[in-house]
Symmetry: C3
Subunit: 155 residues, 3 copies
């Protein structure tokens, strides 16, 4: 498989791991020194920079429990490889249903990632995004709203 295809695959696995809450799979996509830039536009809120795989995994486990349902999808990849490093831009769309808070967020953002070639294949070594917009609604405005989770989730 060529480098660009391999980099796309690790990005897809990274997002599949988050949206299915498969934290072991997520760990396998990250370098040990991963940097996560969850800035003012990240839906986690606040100017948050997470450094290191254990920190990032801990944050995801804590933030994305069974009552937070997420969908993150990316397209429009622009990937550039230089030896054993690569950069990637993606157009992301997300939906987050916060069951306990009875809120739903939808939005779009541009991811800027860095990837590194390791003995175990390409991994994400830095990730973050800047939003174009996000919108939130309270589910109180939609009294008929029904959510059903599926078997793809690791709950």
């Amino acid at each position: 498989m060529d480098d660009i295809s391999a980099i796309k695959q690790v990005k897809y696995r990274y997002l599949r791991a988050i949206d299915t809450k498969d934290w072991d799979l997520l760990a396998s996509t990250l370098t040990e020194d991963i940097i996560g830039n969850y800035g003012e536009d990240g839906h986690q809120g606040g100017n948050l920079v997470l450094t290191g795989r254990d920190n990032l995994l801990g944050f995801m486990r804590d933030s994305l429990g069974p009552n937070i349902i997420t969908e993150h999808r990316v397209d429009h990849p622009e990937i550039t490889v230089a030896d054993d490093e690569a950069t990637g831009s993606w157009y992301m769309q997300d939906r987050v249903v916060m069951i306990d808070h009875e809120m739903m967020l939808t939005g779009a953002a541009f991811y800027t990632d860095r990837y590194r070639r390791t003995a175990d294949g390409w991994k994400v070594c830095e990730t973050g995004y800047d939003r174009t917009y996000e919108l939130t609604i309270s589910l109180h405005d939609l009294p008929s709203f029904k959510l059903k989770t599926g078997v793809s989730l690791n709950l």
Copy 2:
């Protein structure tokens, strides 16, 4: 065209056929022994397995009449080719507007497909998906809701 590109094209035609209600185009993407696994997470509901092109086409025609508007899109492909067979995983997003029932569904799922090389190109020989989530709302909660269908639909 390489095999992976050809397999993507048949998947895109398959979904374009469903969303435009072009049943002849849909037929051209399926092997005669196609298996459709529309399980408990499929939005068609129920534990449904359809075997054979005529059965699957009949089901689609009956289920997806002019008062059911669908959007199915896939990205994040992970496709593996082994000789004349291939497997594919895709991240699907769908929206279904059920005009008669005044309901709207949105959701996400992972497709698992099998493809077969035929004398007439790659075809889908098995398809099905498992959801991460689906959400439904009644259009009664959105009294201003207006739907306009476009010329891409075969109505």
Copy 3:
């Protein structure tokens, strides 16, 4: 980079330019004789054909001011190259938030584009789409609706 990859990149830049309101970037993706077919199914409404880069750019600047937030994403590409011309079909999904009108539109359409190889790389020389559907709601139905724009927008 092969032709099909280069054509995808220019399409992604074209949409990124629109959704971030970066009109100089948009100009760089268009031939001087660009034709934009915004027909009865285009969300700009009306049977509108724009000819020439300056006309198209002027229209976009006027139509997509700071109080119109857009998201346009494409997937399912079917691209065919013949020498220095190419055609492309894409499955588009859009969301448009019209802040002043307190309306939100979501929909889907099939783009049909033509591209031309120039001394400065591939450019879009004709673009337009036909919808499968569009739906609109008034934000009055969602009193909790909150929109936050992000740093990716050139406002």
